[in-house]
C-alpha cells in the first residue's frame, strides 16, 4: 500500500461528505462538510497535540551515544585497531602491490567485484585495508550471513565493516550513502576450492551484483587478486564434518600442516604469499536506475563478461609471476 496521502485526504473527505449530505438532503452540507473536514487536517497539530506529557518538544538531552558504532555496525575505532593489526601482514607478510588503484573513484558509490580464494580468504582484508589506507575511503565488505550466525566472529566482522550481502543493504550503501562496497560473487564456492582448482573462477552467483549496480546506478569495478589462493590453500575437504558443523566447507589447509607447532593458531595464519591486486577498467551500465527489474539476459551477459575479464587478468598476472612468494 503506497502512502499516496494528499490525494487520499481529499477523496476521503469528499466521500464521507457525500454520504452525510445524502442523509441531510442538503447540497450545501456537502461543501460545508468538506471544508470542515479539511480544516483540521491543515491546522490539526494544534488541536491534537495536548497529550499529557508529550505536549511540547522535549529539550534536547546531551548526546547519549557511548560508542561510534554506525548503523551498519561498523566502528571506525575498531576499524583503526584492525588496520593497525593488519598492517604488518599487509606490508611485510603479503607485501601487497596495487596496479590501477587510481581507477577507484575518490567519491561516489561503486561496487567492487573481486575473485575470492583461500580457506580463510585474505583478499577481502587486503582490498579493504589497501583502499582505506591509500585512498582514505571506507569500504564495506558484503558477505554471506554465515558470519552473522557465529558468536564473537559475527560481531567483530560487523565492527570492522562487514555488512550482510542483501540487495536492500547494497542499494542503500551504494545509492543513498554513495559508499564503496566490496562483493565476491563467487561466495563460498570460490573460497572452498581446493588447491588443484586454483585461479579457476567459479560461477558468479546469479548475477545479482550486476542487478544491484544497475539499480543503484553505480559502476562496477572488477578487481583481480593474485596470491590469496596460496595464502591458505585447501588440500582436502570433509563434507560430512562441514555438514555436522553447519559450515559451507571443512578444510584441511596447508597452513594447518606447516604451522602445526603453533597449535590451533596456525589454522588462522596465512602463508606469506605475494599478493598482487589489479584494478580493471570500471564497467558503466547506461540503464535507468531504480527500476524494479532489469533484463535477465543483459544481467547474465554483463555478469559473465565481468567474470571473463577477471579470469583473463588473472591468467595474465599468472604468466608474469615468477614466484608464489616473491611475485
Amino acid at each position: 500500500m503506497p502512502p499516496a496521502k494528499p490525494t487520499k485526504v481529499t477523496k476521503a473527505a469528499a466521500t464521507s461528505g457525500a454520504t452525510r449530505a445524502k442523509k441531510a438532503a442538503k447540497p450545501a452540507a456537502t461543501a460545508r462538510r468538506t471544508t470542515a473536514k479539511q480544516a483540521p487536517v491543515r491546522s490539526s497539530s494544534v488541536a491534537l497535540v495536548p497529550v499529557p506529557k508529550a505536549a511540547e518538544v522535549p529539550a534536547p538531552l546531551p548526546d547519549p551515544r557511548r560508542s561510534d558504532v554506525d548503523q551498519w555496525g561498523r566502528s571506525e575505532h575498531m576499524r583503526e585497531i584492525a588496520r593497525r593489526m593488519y598492517d604488518p601482514l599487509y606490508r611485510t607478510w603479503h607485501r601487497v602491490e596495487w596496479e590501477g588503484l587510481e581507477k577507484i573513484p575518490r567519491a561516489g558509490g561503486a561496487l567492487l567485484v573481486a575473485n575470492h580464494a583461500g580457506a580463510i580468504p585474505s583478499d577481502a582484508p587486503s582490498i579493504m585495508h589497501g583502499i582505506e589506507t591509500e585512498l582514505g575511503r571506507p569500504v564495506y565488505g558484503l558477505a554471506d550471513e554465515i558470519f552473522k550466525r557465529m558468536p564473537v566472529v559475527g560481531t567483530m566482522w560487523s565492527r570492522v565493516g562487514g555488512v550482510l550481502a542483501h540487495p536492500d543493504n547494497a542499494y542503500r550503501l551504494l545509492r543513498e550513502e554513495e559508499q564503496l562496497a566490496l562483493v565476491f560473487p563467487e561466495g563460498t564456492k570460490g573460497t572452498g576450492k581446493t588447491y588443484a582448482e586454483r585461479y579457476q573462477l567459479r560461477r558468479f552467483g546469479r548475477g545479482g551484483f550486476v542487478q544491484i549496480a544497475m539499480r543503484a546506478g553505480v559502476p562496477i569495478i572488477p578487481i583481480a587478486v593474485l596470491g590469496a589462493e596460496e595464502a591458505m590453500p585447501i588440500l582436502w575437504k570433509s563434507a560430512p564434518l562441514a555438514k555436522a558443523l553447519g559450515i559451507p566447507y571443512f578444510p584441511i589447509t596447508a597452513n594447518m600442516l606447516v604451522f602445526a607447532p603453533l597449535g590451533p593458531l596456525g589454522m588462522l595464519l596465512d602463508l606469506p604469499s605475494k599478493i598482487r591486486i589489479r584494478v580493471l577498467d570500471p564497467v558503466h551500465f547506461d540503464v535507468e536506475p531504480d527500476q524494479p527489474r532489469y533484463s535477465r539476459s543483459r544481467i547474465m551477459e554483463e555478469s559473465e563478461m565481468i567474470r571473463q575479464r577477471i579470469q583473463e587478468a588473472l591468467l595474465d598476472m599468472l604468466r608474469a609471476r615468477e614466484s608464489v612468494w616473491f611475485g
Binding site: 487520499k8 483540521p40 491534537l48 497529550v51 506529557k53 522535549p58 548503523q71 551498519w72 555496525g73
Partner: protein, 349 residues
C-alpha cells in the same frame, strides 16, 4: 453550528496505549464521541470517554459500531509483550479480537471511514538473513516461531483483507519498534532494569527504539491525516545492545549462545529473567526498520533511538530516587457515572 465531529472507538482502553490515545483525543474538539472497549476498567483518568466492558473477542462490537455510528476505529489492543500472558490468551485477543472487530466494521451500512491499527515490527522477525533496515514491503526472512509473531501476522492479514474489501475506508497499519519510555513497561525495559543486563554471548545486535510519546503522537498523526497504508514507526538510528546497557549504566551478563530456549523456562519460573523466543532472537540478530515513509508523510519524531534510551534511564533514575509513584487514579464505576451523567454535576460551558 459546529461541524459534526469524529466518533471514535478505541479498543483496549485499559491498556497503556488505549488510555493515552483516549486522553489525547478528549482534548480535541473535533472528536465528538469516544467509546473505549476493554475487558478491564480504565487505568487513567478520562473526562468524557465512554467505557464499555467487553470480552476480548468483542462479541457486542457490531452493535456498538452501529448504535454509536462509529466512523473511526483505533485498534490499540494488540498484545506484543508475550511475557505477560499465555499464548492462548494472546491468540484470543490479537487474532479473534481483530477478526471480530473488522467483521463488525465491515457490516452492511457500517459508518466506519478511518482505521488505525497499532501493530509491531515483530512482524518482520529477527534473523541473520535480515537486511539492516526493513522497509514496509520487505518480507521476513524466516518463518515466525513465536505465538505473538504469528498472531500479529494473522492480524495484519485481516486488516489487509478489510482494506481491500473496503476501499472507501482509509486504513493505516503502524508498525512500532521496541517501545521504551518513562511510564510503559516492556520486556526490554524489564531486562534493562535488572542489575545486570542479559545479553547473548558473542552477539551485540543493533536495536532500534521508539519513545512512548512518539507512539501516541504517531497514532494521533495517523488519525489527523487519515493516513493510509503500512508505516514503520521507530526512532532514528540503531544502537548496539551493549551500548544500550552502557547508557543505562549497567554491565551485561552473557547468556549461552545456544540452548537458551531450553534454559528460559526454568529461569522465568524462578523470576530471574523472562526472555521469550522473539526477544532472544532480537538479542541475537537485532532489527532495524526504515522509518522514512512516515516522515515523508509529514511526521517528525521527538526522540531518536538513543534519545529514547536516555529518557528512559532518566525516568528510572528518578523513580528509584523518589520511589514508585503509584497512580492515584482508581476507576470507580458509580463515581464516574455520577460525574458524567448526573444533572447535579455542573459542566463548564
Amino acid at each position: 453550528m459546529a461541524p459534526v465531529g469524529k466518533r471514535v472507538l478505541i479498543t483496549g482502553l485499559a491498556t497503556f496505549w488505549g488510555g493515552r490515545v483516549a486522553q489525547a483525543l478528549e482534548a480535541d474538539p473535533n472528536v465528538e464521541v469516544i467509546v473505549g472497549l476493554d475487558r478491564h476498567e480504565p487505568t487513567v483518568q478520562l473526562e468524557r470517554t465512554e467505557y464499555v466492558r467487553s470480552d476480548e473477542s468483542y462479541s457486542i462490537l457490531a452493535r456498538i459500531v452501529k448504535a454509536a455510528k462509529i466512523d473511526t476505529i483505533v485498534h490499540t489492543f494488540l498484545v506484543v509483550d508475550s511475557t505477560q500472558m499465555r499464548s492462548r490468551t494472546i491468540h484470543e485477543i490479537n487474532v479473534i479480537g481483530t477478526l471480530n472487530l473488522f467483521a463488525a466494521a465491515s457490516a452492511p451500512g457500517s459508518t466506519v471511514r478511518d482505521v488505525v491499527v497499532k501493530s509491531s515490527t515483530l512482524v518482520y522477525g529477527s534473523d541473520p538473513r535480515d537486511p539492516t533496515w526493513f522497509r514496509e514491503e520487505s518480507r521476513r526472512s524466516a518463518l515466525p516461531r513465536s505465538m505473538v509473531e504469528r498472531s500479529l501476522l494473522e492480524v495484519e492479514g485481516y486488516v489487509r483483507d478489510f482494506a481491500v474489501d473496503n476501499p472507501h475506508v482509509s486504513v493505516a497499519i503502524l508498525r512500532f519498534s521496541n517501545v521504551l519510555g518513562p511510564d510503559i513497561t516492556t520486556g526490554l525495559a524489564r531486562a534493562l532494569e535488572l542489575p545486570l543486563v542479559p545479553a547473548i554471548f558473542g552477539f551485540d545486535p543493533r536495536i532500534q527504539f521508539v519513545h512512548e510519546a512518539d507512539v501516541v503522537r504517531a497514532i494521533l498523526f495517523a488519525l489527523e491525516t487519515q493516513l493510509q497504508g503500512v508505516y514503520n514507526v521507530a526512532g532514528d538510528g540503531l544502537l548496539p545492545w551493549s551500548e544500550v546497557a552502557a547508557i543505562c549504566g549497567k554491565h551485561t551478563f552473557p547468556l549461552p549462545p545456544f540452548g537458551m530456549s531450553l534454559l528460559n523456562g526454568p529461569l522465568s519460573r524462578l523470576g530471574v529473567i523472562d526472555l521469550p523466543d522473539e526477544l532472544l532472537d532480537l538479542l541475537r540478530n537485532g532489527r532495524g526498520v526504515d522509518n522514512r515513509r512516515l516522515q515523508e508523510a509529514g511526521f517528525s519524531y521527538h526522540y531518536t533511538s538513543a534519545g529514547t534510551v536516555a529518557d528512559f534511564v532518566e525516568a528510572v533514575r528518578i523513580r528509584n530516587m523518589l520511589g514508585a509513584s503509584e497512580s492515584a487514579y482508581q476507576y470507580e464505576r458509580d463515581v464516574e457515572q455520577f460525574f458524567r451523567h448526573s444533572p447535579a454535576v455542573l459542566h463548564d460551558e
